[in-house]
């Protein structure tokens, strides 16, 4: 592999594009969520800043920047400050392995619409999700606040429990595609059908597990407002709080992107060979659908109690995920995979 300057520029531009997609996506996912929630709750939602409230995220951002940053007197200052950063970084880098579309050619140069096509992409996603718990745990501990500590401990336990089911949910598409590379998984879906049709159980398990991973309702235990005020970020304000907020929404986007890639065929869609630029459009559309599902759940479901959540994770979800792996493997052996 020859590395020339054009290639480095290509990497830089792609990385920046992903970061911008994540952060801008974060801003407008909040607006999207508030609008959808509002319409589900017989009200209008934000409609004052800009036409149809389109500038609301900007206004929120400005507000958060000018908020006072408070650090509790007995907090562990260093960790208190770096915990939001630790939380947001995994969220930002996790989408690096997702393919956005087929190769396109600009000025005689073939450009791959992905940042990295590593052959262990799924494992990469697993390891990034596994370290994303640190930010939350440390934020809870460093605040020196009982609510925050409880929230941090809960999130640790919850994430460890649901990671197993999440990992096993990945196994289905991996077995079907015979590769851990997301590029290959999408290519395999191009040859057959989107894997949600072959892996309905796996897709459901994936969605449930990621809701727990990103701490969204009905599994928003770590920040359970009703009992723990705001859980691990009780003591945070201003931009530090905004970083946690950002991490949550970027993670939502990331898991939706990965879910769309694994189970909904990623960037695939009609007329792709005519107009390859449709790839990202299809992907974003699928992500929006999955995000809508996440928001819908938040609008309708009460929170599950913590011990029931753990019991569900270990006693229901994990065995089902194992069963799914066994069934998939058996199916591939019987009917021939790939």
């Amino acid at each position: 592999m020859v590395i020339d300057s054009a290639m480095i520029w290509e990497w830089v531009i792609k990385s920046v594009a992903i970061l911008i997609f994540c952060t801008a996506g974060f801003a407008y996912t909040t607006l999207y969520e508030r609008k959808v929630l509002a319409r589900m709750q017989v009200r209008w939602g934000p409609n004052r800043a800009g036409p149809r409230g389109i500038l609301q995220p900007v206004a929120d951002g400005i507000k958060l920047i000018f908020k006072e940053e408070l650090i509790p007197a007995k907090a562990d200052k260093l960790i208190f400050v770096i915990a939001p950063v630790i939380t947001v970084i995994p969220a930002l880098i996790i989408t690096g392995v997702v393919p956005w579309g087929p190769d396109i050619t600009i000025g005689g140069r073939t450009i791959h619409l992905y940042l990295a096509n590593i052959n262990v992409a799924v494992l990469y996603i697993m390891s990034i999700t596994s370290i994303s718990v640190y930010g939350i745990t440390l934020a809870g501990w460093s605040s020196n606040n009982k609510y925050a500590t409880l929230g941090g401990l809960r999130s640790t336990a919850q994430m460890i429990s649901y990671e197993l089911a999440l990992g096993l949910a990945f196994v289905g598409p991996i077995l079907l595609a015979g590769s851990m590379s997301l590029q290959d998984i999408v290519a395999a879906q191009a040859k057959s059908v989107p894997f949600i049709l072959l892996q309905p159980l796996g897709a459901v398990i994936y969605m449930i597990a990621v809701i727990a991973e990103v701490n969204r309702a009905p599994f928003d235990m770590p920040e359970a407002e009703q009992e723990l005020t705001a859980g691990y970020h009780t003591e945070y304000s201003g931009m530090k709080f905004a970083l946690f907020f950002m991490a949550e929404y970027i993670k939502m986007i990331a898991v939706s992107t990965i879910g769309a890639t694994l189970f909904l065929g990623g960037y695939l869609g009609p007329f792709l060979n005519v107009a390859p630029w449709l790839g990202p459009v299809y992907l974003i559309g699928k992500v929006a659908i999955l995000l809508y599902g996440l928001i819908w759940l938040r609008a309708t479901l009460p929170r599950i109690r913590y011990d029931r959540l753990m019991a569900f994770g270990w006693k229901v979800l994990f065995p089902l995920a194992l069963l799914n792996v066994v069934l998939t493997a058996a199916g591939i052996t019987l009917f021939g995979g790939k």
């Binding site: 562990d76 960790i79 052959n119 262990v120 390891s127 596994s130 440390l138 401990l153």
Partner: protein, 181 residues
């Protein structure tokens, strides 16, 4: 005299960070900081694996050590509230043993390094030799017995852990009943 390449610079930086974080882990008085530095150390070591063209090992390192084991360590530290270690430790016998063992390991490393050609230790063929398919194949053919034995030991450990925690339950329930009355 080796040529200074980009890779060498990165290697030296990462290696220095790994050593620094390991030392910091040893000398930090705050157990949470120690645990975090250890996590950082694991990550840098994983990065070294990536540079050697073994992404599977690297990612497994992060997932298992940084993502699972160290989280549990932190969990325990926070639950017990033992963040600060006492300044003075009276474990002189242990520290003497530790120094001796450390010396043995360093000597061993130096001897091996000097006696053998260093390059022979490096797995030169990067890429597919350590790919997932390759590892899976080896685990289920050549190393099947060790693999199964390891799984069996892990299973025993899991069952043992369950039995150990299970014994508390009846006592705990009875007490709960009393409180309600």
């Amino acid at each position: 005299m080796p040529v200074i390449t980009l890779q060498l610079v990165i290697f030296i930086t990462v290696a220095a960070l790994a050593i620094a974080s390991a030392l910091g882990m040893l000398f930090s008085r705050n157990t949470v900081y120690s645990a975090l530095l250890l996590v950082f150390n694991f990550t840098t070591v994983a990065f070294l694996y990536f540079m050697m063209g073994a992404p599977f090992i690297g990612l497994a390192q992060i997932t298992v050590y940084a993502g699972a084991i160290m989280v549990l360590f932190l969990f325990v530290i926070m639950l017990l509230g033992t963040e600060q270690i006492a300044r003075i430790e009276q474990l002189s016998a242990q520290s003497v043993a530790a120094v001796l063992l450390g010396l043995v390991i360093i000597t061993e490393a130096v001897v091996v390094f000097l006696l053998r050609n260093p390059t022979s230790l490096v797995v030169t063929s990067g890429g597919d030799v350590v790919s997932v398919n390759e590892i899976g194949g080896l685990l289920y053919s050549q190393y099947l017995l060790p693999f199964e034995i390891t799984s069996f030991i892990l299973l025993v450990a899991v069952v043992g852990a369950i039995i150990l925690t299970k014994q508390e339950k009846p006592a705990g329930k009875a007490v709960e009943g009393e409180v309600k009355k």
